[in-house]
Amino acid sequence: MTFSIIAKCKETGKYGAAVATCFPGVGAHSPHIEADTGIVLTQGWVNPPLGQEGIDYLKKGYTANETLNHLLMHDPGKELRQVAVMDQYGNSSSYTGVENDEYKGSIIGENWSVHGNVLEDPEVLSQMAEAFEASEGPLEVRLFEALAAGDAAGGDKRGKQSAVIKVVDIAEFPYIDFRVDDHEEPVQELRRIYEKNKHVLIERYYEWVDAVKQGIVL
């Protein structure tokens, strides 16, 4: 019922994820990202507690594989879910439960992975992967490119409703965290919100963080 991407920027070390689905308010459930730690993404029949549990496990230094296995071990409904994990090394690991509807699957690349279920076409995932690999610039822009490519390739076969993009840099200081909870074209709307508002805090992110930490005015 969803297509998504998780990635780590090799240059800056930022983690980011973007998800689109035919379900309202996907951003409330997933993804879970923490700076200097990694990403845990659950979709299909989402099990939200897996997100924090996975992040806590990653913080202990476990790899994506170990964390994924840990999550699956303790999730009796694992076959209903799609789970993807990225660790501090940029390695991804993902699992697609057999009870997700077709087309379902995932592709893992260097410092990124794409995943989806109830997809219109297997091309959705390969298009997302190609778009991400071919794109340049900040991580958030590359995530948008991938999400747009998935959307253009058919996306969720049931339709479109919500989308989310999250990128983290400095712990506890949100970098990019935009959501579209209910819209006819959620992916396009998400990009529009980003473009309109990026100058507010995103482009002066470090100044803002410095100002907050020192108790000074930006």
């Binding site: 230094g61 790899t63 594989n65 170990e66 296995n69 840990h70 699956l72 071990m73 303790h74 009796p76 694992k78 076959e79 660790d87 501090q88 090394y89 439960g97 057999v98 009870e99 470090y206 100044e207 410095d210 020192q214 108790g215 000074i216 005015v217």
Partner: protein, 692 residues
């Protein structure tokens, strides 16, 4: 050294000069001090008050001794006049050198300390005369501003908030241009700082502890390989200080040194961070490698086992060597197929098959975990041809970090599934061959072909043969799925095969229509008697089985071609089985009268019963009496009055009366041997037909 005092010299050269204090014998000049010294113009002219020793010209002055390496014609008066100045210059030079040396030593010894920046600023302030306060700015690339990282003589809570842009204030200007500045005079300094933003200016003022502006300041860039790392600014608030160009040179030299130290510190910190990251990555890589290695080794071992056709047992052993936890393989009826010693002490919960997570395993064909009181049970499906064949169950401690082992379990279960599927297919093929042979025997197929088939199955046509037919009791299969019924039948086949093996009986066990047949063969050389004895022992054993079976056993016949006769015997026994309540096994040789009854049609038997007992049956029907019941008991207990009265719960007089009435109705005398035999036989046949 250079200066106007040497201008009058017509010809001079750099000479190593030593000036020694006579009183202390200390060398005033630096060990490496050189001076431009006028060289001797006239070799014949010998200056007074000096002498030459080992090419060194030595001047003996009242308080000092001066030594010049090589020739010179400077006289002693020159040295007398210049010594005070030279002494002062040497002292200054020595001070600066000493400061630089001390700072180098200090910074070198504290290079990796966390407070190295405080050490730098403190050292510089101590080295420069009149300096009492200062800032050390570093450039923050992310926000492109100068931040104060260390300071002496200012309030931290205020100076920490300073964020200077390039060109802002004196320090910002020095950062922007890379040119050091020395400013003397409070007014000049105040003026230079007007370019600061209100915000930074306010925080600067708040940071000062006494006066707002110093008397003098020096600001130098911290530069390393053309990159400006930051700015070092020192001030003098006290005693009307004044910074000279010499002070600026000293601070500049100190700043250069500090820049190297800071760069080194950054490189070191970066390298340390990388090393820690590398170490973490290495550990993670080692763990992953170990997992991959285990998985790969296991994969290779199982692949080799499968390739060599070593069977399920070898797979279990490979699993046992790899997995340290107790585990067992159960078939779908939860009979253990293989179990480790640890697993033999474990028990599956009674409701295992209906446990929601096991149901989930059956539904998804994927593993799941059941939390137990002190451990967890991992249940992995073993997939058969049509459905789940059984389960691989692993008991693990709850607190053990073994998540990665699930990959091994999954692979083990998969290979096991393939192996068991293969074995199942082989068994089915064998069953097919055996079934074909039996069908052939019964249908009178060409003898030659049958003999070849029999020989292929290890049978000798001339031996003695007996056929056993068996089936599950109707009650034991009620409500079971066809797959489960099949499994139960397979279990019975295995039990027969094991029994034959144990007894050294050659034979074949297979499906035959709705039955399972077991054909036993006995060596003809041991004779028929021995064959019968062995069959008798087998029947005794079958009777002791606790399986829900009905079994018919045919007689022993010579030659494979006659085995169909034994099969007919067994079939008749099976037919009897529906008429007998209890016996699990009926052997044709011990079937008694029933075997004769089976030879006649039901109609024939009914005629016989009617002929002998007809009047009594009609009487009972008409009068609603129960004389038939009395007669059957009378026959069963062979006229024993005591037993019959007890069974019927009647007085003996009543029994006498009833027997008398029965004889009258049947017009028969029970004391007549022939009449009594007919009545006995008719009662048996009546019972037989009733049960049918």
């Amino acid at each position: 050294m250079s200066g106007s005092i040497w201008d009058h010299l017509t010809r001079h050269q750099e000479k190593q000069v030593y000036i020694i204090d006579r009183a202390t014998r200390a060398v005033i000049s630096n060990a490496s001090s050189t001076l431009p010294v006028r060289v001797k113009e006239d070799p014949e002219k010998v200056p007074p008050s000096f002498y030459v020793k080992d090419d060194i010209v030595i001047y003996e002055l009242p308080d000092h001794q001066v030594m010049v390496e090589g020739e010179t014609d400077i006289d002693v008066d020159f040295w007398s006049k210049q010594i005070p100045w030279l002494t002062y210059l040497f002292e200054e030079n020595k001070h600066a050198s000493q400061v630089l040396t001390d700072m180098a030593n200090t910074l070198a010894s504290k290079m990796y300390d966390e407070d190295i920046l405080e050490v730098v600023i403190q050292t510089v302030i101590e080295a420069v005369p009149f300096a009492d306060t200062g800032f050390l700015f570093l450039h923050d690339k992310q926000i492109d501003k100068l931040l104060i990282h260390a300071a002496v003589g200012f309030r931290e809570e205020s100076y920490r908030k300073t964020r200077l842009k390039k060109g802002e204030g004196v320090s910002g200007q020095v950062y922007a241009t890379g040119i050091p500045e020395v400013i003397n005079g409070e007014k000049n300094i105040r003026k230079a700082m007007t370019s600061m933003s209100d915000y930074n200016y306010t925080h600067y003022i708040k940071a000062t502890k006494g006066r707002e502006f110093p008397d003098c300041m020096i600001s130098v860039p911290l530069m390393f390989e053309n990159e400006i790392l930051g700015v070092l600014t020192i001030d003098s608030f006290e005693a009307g200080g004044y910074f000279t160009q010499a002070d600026l040179s000293l601070v500049k030299a100190l700043a250069d040194h500090a820049a190297i130290v800071l760069t080194h510190g950054r490189v070191y910190a970066n390298e340390k961070k990388k090393r820690e990251e590398y170490e973490t990555t290495l550990q993670a890589l080692r763990k992953e490698h170990e997992m991959v290695r285990r998985t790969t080794d296991f994969h290779h071992r199982l692949t080799n086992i499968a390739a060599r056709g070593e069977g399920a047992e070898a797979i279990f052993n490979a699993l046992k060597q790899t997995i340290s936890y107790p585990f067992a393989v159960y078939d779908f009826l939860l009979h253990p197929y293989f179990e480790t010693e640890g697993a033999a002490r474990k028990e599956l919960m009674p409701s295992f098959l209906t446990h929601p997570r096991v149901k989930n395993v059956r539904k998804t064909h994927k593993w799941n975990q059941i939390p137990l009181e002190k451990e967890r049970l991992i249940v992995l499906p073993i997939i058969g041809v049509e459905d789940i064949w059984g389960f691989l169950c692993v008991w693990m401690p709850e607190d053990d970090i073994v998540e990665n082992d699930i990959v091994l379990f999954e692979y083990g279960a998969t290979v096991l599934s393939l192996e068991l599927t293969k074995e199942e297919a082989i068994k089915e093929a064998e069953q097919g061959v055996k079934g074909e042979l039996v069908e052939g025997l019964l249908s009178g197929k060409a003898q030659k072909t049958l003999e070849v088939q029999a020989a292929n199955l290890g049978l000798t046509p001339g031996d003695y043969y007996s056929m056993v037919l068996t089936r599950l009791t109707p009650g034991s299969v009620a409500g079971l799925l066809p797959q489960h019924v099949k499994w139960k039948k397979e279990e019975i086949i295995r039990a027969f095969e094991e029994e034959f093996d144990k007894r050294g009986i050659k034979g074949i066990v297979a499906y035959y229509r709705s039955y399972i047949f077991a054909m036993a063969s006995f060596d003809e050389q041991n004779g028929k008697k021995q064959a019968r004895l062995e069959m008798k022992q087998l029947v005794d054993r079958l009777e002791s089985w606790h399986l829900p079976l009905q079994t018919g056993v045919g007689r022993v016949h010579k030659n494979l071609n006659n085995v169909n006769h034994s099969l007919e015997d067994a079939e008749k026994c099976m037919e009897l089985m529906t008429k007998e309540n209890d016996p699990k096994v009926i052997s044709f040789v011990s079937a008694g009268i029933s075997r004769f009854l089976l030879q006649h049609s039901e109609e024939e038997l009914n005629l016989f019963v009617d002929d002998i007992l007809g009047p009594l049956l009609q009487y009972d029907r008409k009068k609603k009496s129960d004389f038939m019941e009395t007669l059957i008991s009378y026959v069963r207990y062979d006229k024993e009055l005591k037993q019959v009265t007890e069974v019927l719960n009647v007085h003996h007089n009543t029994l006498y009366y009833r027997i008398s009435r029965i004889q009258a109705i049947l017009d028969i005398d029970f004391s007549d041997f022939e009449d009594w035999f007919n009545v006995q036989l008719a009662c048996h046949v009546h019972d037989f037909l009733e049960q049918q």
